[in-house]
Amino acid sequence: MARKKNEQFSDDDQDYGDEPNFDDPEGFVDDVSDEELLGDFLSNKPCETDGVENVVVVDNIPKVGQARQEKLRSVIDKLFSTFGQINKEFYPVDEEGNTKGYAFLEYKNSENAEEAVKSLNNHRLDKSHTFAVNLFTDFQKYEHIPEKWEPPTPQPYKVQTDLYNFLIEPDGYDQFCVAAETAPNAIQVQFWQNTLPEPMELETRDRFTETFVKWSPQGTYIVTFHKQGVVLWAGTTFARVNRFQQAATHFVDFSPCENYLVTYGPTPDGQKIIIWDIRTGLEKRTFISKGNMSRFRWSHDDRYVAYMGENAIFIHETPTFYLLDLKSIKIPGIRNFSWSPTDNIIAYWVAEVTDVPAKVTLMEIPRRTEIRNKILFNVAECKIHWQQSGDYLCVKVDRFSKSRKDKKDSDVKFLGMFYNLEIFHMREKDIPVDSVEIKELILAFAWEPVGTKFAIIHGEPNIANVTFYEVKKGQKPNLVKKLEKKVCGHLFWSPRGQFIVLANLTMGTFEFVDTENDFVVMNSGDHFRASEVEWDPTGRYCVTGVSAWKVKEDNGYYIWSFQGKVTKRVMLKNFEQFLWRPRPKTLLSEQQQKEIKKNLKKYYAQFESKDRLRTTRASKELLEKRAHLRELFMEYRVKRIEDYNNQKTRRLELRNHVDTDNLNTEDVEEEIVEFLIKEETTIIE
C-alpha cells in the first residue's frame, strides 16, 4: 500500500512540472546573519553561565566523613529548601571522601537564592558552625574589583524628621488620636492636641490603617496595619519612617525603649514572630510558634526578651538575639512569668502537682540566681502584679479548700475558694513577704502607679466592695478604706496616682474617687455602654468611649476632668479607638520634681492667668461670632417684621376685627359664674 501511495504522489508531483532549483548561485556570499533572522529565538539559547545567579555558596558547614554525609545533606536541605526548590547540590570532598566544609546549592531562580542569603547568612547551626552564605555571583564580582579606586558619589542628604517634636510644645499639651471606620477595612485616624479651651485638630488621615493603630510606649511612633505588613509613622507631620513587611501582621509589640518591634502574623506552619530593629528596619530574629509559645516580654532596659515555652523560659539577649548562655531556663510546670518594670528580675510561678506545692520565684537575670522563693499550698491560679516603680510585687493567689477531679472531663473542680494577696517588699533585705487574706471573690486588682496604695474590688459583681490598702516599708499592708456596695468591675488609676475611676463597663457608670482626701467620691456620671477608659499621661483628663468594636450604636467619646466632670462630648460614627499619645519618662531627677511641687503655688498663678487669658480670648471670638450671626439675622427680620406690620389690617379683617396679636391676659376680666351643683334638704328638728 505504502508503495502504491508513493507512486501516486510521484505521479501527482509530475503534474507541477520540474522542481525549481533552490541552490545558491555560484559564488554567492551569505550576508544575512542568523542573529538578524532569529534574534529573538537565539536569545533563549542556553549557555554555560546560565543559572549562575541561582547558586549560593554555603561556607562553614561541618566537615564530615562519608558515613555522616547523608545526615548533613538532609540538615542543609531542610534549612535551605524553605526558600525554594533546590535543583542541584554539590558537596566538594577531599581525597579521603570528607566534605571540605562548604557546599554549592542551585535554586530554581535567583530570587530564592537571594532570599536564602538574606535569611541564613550568619545562621548558627551549632556552637562552632556559623554559616557564611553568599551568592556565587558575588565571588565573581569581588574577583573583578577594579584596581583603581573611585570615590563614591555623594548621596543627597535625606532630612530626618524630628521624632520628638511633640515634646517641645510650649504649653505641654497632650496629643491623642481617634480612629473611626469610614469604609470596610479603611480606618480614618484623627490627630488632636488637647488644647484649652477646645481641643485642636492637627491632622486627619483617611484610610490610615486597615485594622487599628497603636502608639509606641514612649509615644514616638504610631503603627498602622496593612495587608503587606506594618508601617511606623512619626514626626510633626506623621511621616512614614519605616516599613516592616510581614503579610497579615495582626499584632505588634514594642520594646520598652523603642529599639525593637515584634510583629506577629499567622503562617500555615504556625504563628510567625519577627523581631525587627526599628531604626534600621532589619530583621533581627524570626520564630515560628506552634501554639506553645507565650507572647514576647521585654526587660525594662531592652536588654533581654523572654518567652515561655513548655516547662522553660527562653531568654534572648540583645542585640545578638542569641539565647542567653545558649540555653533556656528549665522550669517544670511553669505557668506564667513577668519582668520587673525597673530591674532585670523575673517573677514566675509554678503550678502545684501532687505532693509538690506551688511556688512563686524571683530570679535575677542574667545570673539566674533565685533571690526569693515562696511556697504556696492549695493554689488554683496566680496572677502577678508588679507595682510600676518596682518596689513591690503582689501575687494574687486563688486558693481552694477542696478540689475534686471530674472523671469525665479530667478537669479539676475547685471548691471553697478564697484569695491571698502576697506582697513582696522588693527593696528590703531578703525580700520579706506579707500576706493578706480575702474571703470574697476578687474582681479586680490595681496598684497605684505612683505611690504605695493598691485597690481591689471584691464581692459579688452587683454589690461589690472596693478596698484600699497601703503598703509601707517593713509593715504589713494596712487597710485604709473600704467603700461598700459599689456596682463596679474595673479600676482605673490616674497615671499620676491619687485619683481612681471605679467603672462599671456594662452600664457605663463611672465614679471618680480622690484617695488622698478621705476617699471621697468627687463625682459620678454615666456614659451609656462605654467600654473604654483612657487616662491622659498627666492624669488630668480621663476619656470614656463607646467603641464600634463592642456596640454599633451611640459610638463616640467623652472627655472628663479628673474630678469627674464631662468637658467634651463627641459622637462619631463607627468610632473605634481613642488613644492618648504616651510620653517618655521625665528627665528630671526626684529632687527637681520635689522642687517643682514645693513651688506649685508660684506656678499656679502663672498658669491660671494664662488659662484665663485663653478662655477670654475664646469667648471673645465666640461672642463676636454670635454678634455677627445676630446682626445677619436681624437684617432679615427687620424686613419680615415690616411685612408683618403691614398685614395688620388684613389680619383684623380675617378675625372679625378682634386684635389677637397679643394675648392680653392682663385685660381679661374675671367673671364669677354661679350655678347650682347640688340640692340638699336637711330637716332641722
Binding site: M571, R626, L629, R630, I641, D643, R651, L654, R655, T665
Partner: protein, 325 residues
C-alpha cells in the same frame, strides 16, 4: 421644674396643641381619642369620642369653638368644642394624616395618605357655617400631590398659602387662589414629622427624621437655620417670647423597647434660635417625644410622648434669667 403629668391616654400621644389663649391643651392619641385639658392645673376637661382609629393630627380654631381631627379610620371630623359633639364626619379614601384651620378659621384643610391605591391629596373645605352637610359638600379645592406624600401641613401667610412637608424631606408652598405650587425646596433628606409657625407667622420650624430641625422663611422657603441632633426629631417649636427653639424626638418607636432610657435621648432639647447652639435639656419621657409645643405665653411648654403621657413643664425663673452672652 416639677412637671404636671397628664395621664388620660391608653396609647402613645400623636399630637398636642394649645388653643390661642393657651388655657386649653389638646392631645390626640393612637387610642382613637382626643382629650382637652386645663393647661393651668392639668385637669381633664373632656374627651372627644367617636373615632375608630388612631388620631394623627388635631387643630383648634382661633375662637376655640371648633375642633378638627384627622384619623387613621379614614375620616376627618369637625367637632363642636364646647359640647364635644361631632358636627361633621368627612370620609376619605385613605387614612387622614394632617389637618388645620386657616388664620381666619373660615377654612380648613386636611390631607390623606397615599396608601390603599389612593394618591395623596390636600383638600380645602369651607367651615364657616359648618353642619352635618359638610360631610357631603364639595370641597373648595383639591390639590393632588403626585410626589412623596404629605406628612405635615401648615396654613401660612394668613389664608393665602398652604405649606406641606413631605415624606422625602421636601417642603412645598401652594397658592390657594390658583391651587398651584409656588415653590418647593429639599433641604431635609428624610420625612418631615412636624412644622410649627413662629408667633408672627413669618417663619416656621421643621422637625425631620434626618436628625435635624430647620428654620424656614414662610414665604420664600429659604432655610435660615439648622439645629442638629443625633436622633430623629419628631417635633419642634419656637418660643413666642425668646429666641429659643425646643426639639423633641428619639429613635423610631419600633426600636424603643431595645434601648435604655439612658441611651434613648428622650430629652427635649433647647437650642438658641439664632446661634444654633444647644443650651439645655429636659428629661422625663421614657419613650420618644412625638409632639411638643410652647405655651402661647412662652412660660411653659408641653410634650407628648410615645409613652402615652403628656408632660407640662413650667419654666423656672432661672430659664428667664439665663443670658446667652
Amino acid at each position: 421644674m416639677k412637671p404636671i403629668i397628664l395621664q388620660g391616654h391608653e396609647r402613645s400621644i400623636t399630637h398636642i396643641k394649645y388653643n390661642r389663649e393657651g388655657d386649653l391643651l389638646f392631645s390626640s392619641s393612637k387610642d382613637s381619642k382626643a382629650n382637652v385639658w386645663f393647661s393651668l392645673n392639668g385637669e381633664r376637661l373632656g374627651t372627644f369620642n367617636g373615632h375608630q382609629g388612631a388620631i394623627w393630627c388635631l387643630d383648634v380654631d382661633w375662637t376655640s369653638t371648633k375642633f378638627l381631627t384627622a384619623s387613621g379610620d379614614m375620616t376627618v371630623k369637625l367637632w363642636d368644642l364646647e359640647y364635644g359633639t361631632t358636627i361633621a364626619t368627612i370620609k376619605c379614601k385613605s387614612p387622614g394624616r394632617t389637618c388645620g384651620f386657616s388664620y381666619s378659621g373660615n377654612q380648613a384643610a386636611y390631607s390623606n395618605d397615599s396608601s390603599m391605591g389612593q394618591t395623596c391629596e390636600v383638600t380645602i373645605i369651607d367651615v364657616r357655617n359648618a353642619d352635618s352637610n359638610l360631610s357631603t359638600a364639595d370641597p373648595i379645592l383639591r390639590i393632588p400631590i403626585s410626589s412623596s406624600k404629605v406628612t405635615s401641613m401648615l396654613w401660612a401667610n394668613l389664608d393665602n398659602n398652604i405649606i406641606t412637608g413631605h415624606e422625602n424631606g421636601m417642603v412645598s408652598i401652594f397658592d390657594l387662589r390658583t391651587g398651584k405650587e409656588l415653590n418647593s425646596v429639599k433641604d431635609h433628606t428624610s420625612t418631615i414629622n412636624d412644622m410649627q409657625l413662629s408667633k408672627d407667622g413669618t417663619m416656621f420650624v421643621t422637625a425631620s427624621k434626618d436628625t435635624s430641625a430647620k428654620l424656614f422663611d414662610s414665604e420664600s422657603l429659604v432655610c435660615l437655620k439648622t439645629y442638629k441632633t443625633e436622633k430623629p426629631v419628631n417635633s419642634a417649636s419656637i418660643s413666642p417670647i425668646l429666641d429659643h427653639v425646643v426639639l423633641g424626638g428619639g429613635q423610631d418607636a419600633m426600636e424603643v423597647t431595645t434601648t435604655s432610657t439612658q441611651a434613648g435621648k428622650f430629652d427635649s432639647r433647647f437650642y438658641h434660635l439664632i446661634y444654633e447652639e444647644e443650651f439645655a435639656r429636659v428629661k422625663g419621657h421614657f419613650g420618644p417625644i412625638n409632639s411638643l409645643s410652647f405655651h402661647p405665653d412662652g412660660h411653659s411648654y408641653a410634650t407628648g410622648g410615645e409613652d402615652g403621657f403628656v408632660r407640662l413643664q413650667v419654666f423656672d425663673q432661672s430659664y428667664f434669667d439665663y443670658m446667652f452672652d
